[in-house]
Amino acid sequence: MTKQLMRGNHVVAEAAIRAGCRCYFGYPITPQNELGEYMAENLPKIKGAVYIQAESELAAINMILGASVTGARAMTSSSSPGISLKQEGISFLAGQELPAVIVNMTRGGPGLGNIAPSQADYFQATRGGGHGDYRTLVLAPSSAQEIADLTFDAFDLADKYRNPVILLGDGLLGQMMEPVEFREPVKDLPSKEWTLRGADGRPSRFSRSLILNPTLMEEHNWKLHRKYQLITKQETRVEESGTEDAELVMVAYGVAARIARGAMKRARREGFRVGLIRPITLWPFPSDIIRNTANRIKHFLVFEMNTGQMIEDVKLAVGDNTKVHSYGRPGGSVPTPMELERVIARLYYHTIQKESSS
């Protein structure tokens, strides 16, 4: 397989098809329209595959529910306001333990916001998003190549844990073109014992999230909780760079991590010992690695394209002896590495060096 130059939205679609996704239901919204358009063009070429432009995000996510309960690999995509509408269905998918992949190419918010890249939906993605006590896996790619790989993984994880998986990108990742190499198409999909395809030669089954008996509902919640603990143990992913000798560690994900890496290179040329921790799974959050790093390093800088959301998870992870600083640019503004380097320099001169000299 050779490398191709593709934009992020197309990469998700192509990787999904290769991962065995045969159902796509969506509703147009910028900046992710190319994804649905790619599906509209390419899914109908495959026998038995289904593409529907739904009448709303609500309908799209509920078509996903229907497709998922038959055992099909199904995906929907949207951007922030549309993802808010999908939360009803995501809660039901989580409650009924149905796999699904939901792509959010995040844009500025709240409300209609704008169509520029943003990381404003971190809380929504990592806290479940809809009603009820549940979690979704959240994968945060930072390049076209990683979009391809994580889209493949998203389908596997969704099936493995019977749980919705969110692929959390942003308008920039969706639009930018980069070289990408795809894995070979998946041939054998996992067999599923729980699907509803008609009770032919077996007792009838049902799939529900309504459990009126509080004791049984509690047991269902604990069962989900145990699953989430298992996911946290097994599926947490993170990338570290430059943390070995660092005095300051940045934490950033997605496109922000790309900017942070550029800033780190520049800062290191100036003599600032800066490292970077990039969570690849936002839920489960790599708390252990951040906690271990905080045993050695006393200053963290959380950089996000919002006013500070992931910083709460970092603060929960590090404990009291570590100072967690924040730099955020909300609303669709994309800072440059140079800008972030200035933030690092200021932090260095005003805080870190003063502390080490006193």
Partner: protein
């Protein structure tokens, strides 16, 4: 001795939780009977709605999935497109189908989805305690129209079946009233027509059932039947609202739905 009436094969032996005189149990039973008579139960996936009938899977002995409130037609679409040769039934109430799920209903019908909607119209929100439904008729008392439904304040009753019947993707819509032995018999025939419409790949089918809700109507079961026959049928007259089937009733047996319809 010949058995004239027994427990349907595809009805589980659980006592119905429905109120005395409620229409759900009648329609639940008819669906189970038809799936047995038409030999379809093994290839049926049904959808239970939010509302009293959410527990339908406690009674139906065939595959069943819950849908969020109003989204039955969307869930049915997802199932049917993945499994085009199965029978997909979405069982929904008036609030579910004609208020919160209006968009899903109209667009599934407009796409001509090969699914069957069983629409239980009892002119109120039964499970939540008898609030105004989109199909509540003018001057009808509910807990949220304590002075009776007033067109100026609450709008008019929504004739969702008539609205949907206008769409070319729809193959069969019939309204029945299960407030007499005759009406109950025609309900079963109507549902059978709808299932055949789906199996024959004709298009979207919907059966509206005017169904008693004695508890929230604050009437006896007998008076509930009388109210349907005297009052409700004036607003929602029973009959076939649209029939665009090519094959009508003559060729009703055996023909399987085409794969990848559309």
């Amino acid at each position: 001795m010949k058995l004239l009436y027994g427990w349907p094969k595809y009805l589980k032996k659980n006592p119905f939780h429905y109120c005395p005189g409620c229409g759900h149990s009648i329609i639940h039973r008819q669906i189970a009977e038809l799936l047995e008579e038409m030999n379809l139960a093994h290839k049926t996936i049904s959808i239970a709605p939010a509302g009293c009938a959410v527990l339908a899977y406690n009674y139906w002995d065939f595959d069943c999935v819950e849908a969020p409130h109003g989204r039955g037609a969307a869930v049915a679409t997802g199932i049917k497109r993945c499994l085009p040769d199965r029978l997909v039934i979405s069982y929904q109430g008036d609030g579910d189908l004609a208020a919160i799920g209006t968009a899903e209903t109209i667009h599934a019908a407009n796409r001509g989805e090969r699914v069957t909607v069983i629409f239980i119209n009892n002119a109120n929100y039964g499970m939540t305690g008898g609030q105004m439904a989109p199909t509540t008729i003018l001057d009808q008392y509910t807990t949220t129209t304590p002075e009776g439904r007033n067109a100026r304040m609450h709008g008019f009753p929504v004739h969702i079946s008539d609205l949907v019947a206008m769409l070319p993707g729809v193959a069969y819509i019939e309204r029945v009233a299960i407030s007499s032995p005759k009406g109950i018999r025609s309900a079963k025939k109507a549902i059978k027509n709808a299932f055949e419409t789906q199996i024959n790949d004709e298009g979207f089918s919907l059966i509206e059932v005017l169904s008693p809700c004695p508890t929230n109507w604050k009437k006896t079961p007998a008076d509930s039947w009388k109210w349907i026959n005297d009052v409700l049928v004036d607003e929602f007259p029973p009959g076939v609202l649209v029939d665009r089937r090519r094959r009508k009733d003559k060729k009703r047996s055996g023909k399987k739905g085409k794969k990848n319809a559309d």
